[in-house]
Symmetry: C2
Subunit: 189 residues, 2 copies
DNA sequence: GGAAAACCTTGCCCTATGGCAACGTTTTGG
DNA sequence: CCAAAACGTTGCCATAGGGCAAGGTTTTCC
């Protein structure tokens, strides 16, 4: 198994070496070009992705054709459209790489089989969902209760790497503002 | 066990009658006055609540003193500040009843003990987290990508009972707008 | 059951952000 | 390596929503 994923399991679970080895064949390594789309709106999501290098984002396109980015996964994070994965319904969001990336992909059938039958994967899934809960709780309060300038400052303080690696267009779509406004806010800092 | 909670378990898990009976002593029935606060910002959340009747909300107060409502739980839903429950950190949000309510409360120690040792509760917890994931995914895209009038129309279409049971002040704080704006939007419908 | 408090509405004006246009800069891909 | 496309910045104006004030209405609770 790739060392990054093994480290992830050891960090979250008390899995032993044999069990870990038995999980290896479920994950396929995949190289992804920059800006490649892994899932389109309307398609049913079939895989869960663990990011080895690079980063991928989840975003949707609203009625006016504007992109809204909900989540950006960097190294050592799982990312997928869990809503589509869980419900089996067509996704309302896209999955796209933002850099040349390497990921480990596991099919949804294998993933949910292991969630049911392998306690370590159950624990990992629980951890993913709990982390998502905590992240999105804060995000909703941010979007509801904080103005753009403060959201920008918060992002600069908490995830400075975002500004080195991603375009302003993507950052703006994550903050919920237009690239125009982001450009103006940055020059006002 | 209260029939509403039993029905909830039967709906989500394949629990048997004896196991269900063994869970009963973990839940204490509690009657709550309208507007009673169950958890304040800064306190560590100690319980998970299952709503039998009435409703409770999760909200925070931002820097300007304005309330933002993140979630409203009606009958047959679990609600708590999972972020505080999971991390053990002080809560950034309040829990408050919006009507005279009856809930079943389980302590966090008992709850997480059962999540680890009772598969049916593990499944219920997984279901709660998955549902929260699906709900908040849509909510983030709504807050980011849709204007207030459309958010109002969506809420009217999807949760009309909200408008019969809750004050405009609470509805506005859920939509992320002021009561002034809500009043104006409603008269424009 | 009545005073006080909370709530709802609406007029007026203000502010943050959006959208277009124009133009320079960077990135992409053959 | 170069042309085309995408991106970033900024001036100008438009618009959604916020905030105050004032008045009517409903709710609370002693």
């Amino acid at each position: 198994m790739h060392t990054a994923l093994a480290a992830y399991f050891y960090d979250i679970t008390d899995i032993n070496e044999e069990t870990l080895a038995s999980l290896t064949p479920y994950f396929r390594e995949k190289t992804i070009r920059k800006n490649e789309v892994l899932l389109r709106e309307g398609e049913v999501c079939q895989s869960n992705y663990f990011v080895i290098s690079g980063c991928i984002r989840l975003y949707s396109v609203n009625q006016e054709g504007l992109e809204n980015t909900r989540y950006i996964a960097f190294e050592r994070k799982f990312a997928t459209s869990f809503t589509s994965l869980i419900t089996g319904q067509p996704s309302i969001e896209y999955i796209q790489s933002l850099e040349k990336s390497t990921v480990l992909a596991i099919s949804k059938e294998d993933f949910f089989y292991l969630v049911e039958h392998e306690p370590a994967v159950n624990k990992v899934y629980r951890n993913i969902l709990e982390s998502a809960y905590i992240t999105t709780q804060k995000r909703i309060y941010d979007l509801q209760g904080t103005d753009s300038l403060n959201r920008l400052k918060l992002l600069l303080a908490q995830q400075p790497q975002v500004f080195k690696r991603l375009s302003n267009k993507v950052i703006a779509s994550y903050l919920g503002i237009t690239p125009y406004t982001l450009s103006r806010l940055k020059s006002s800092l």
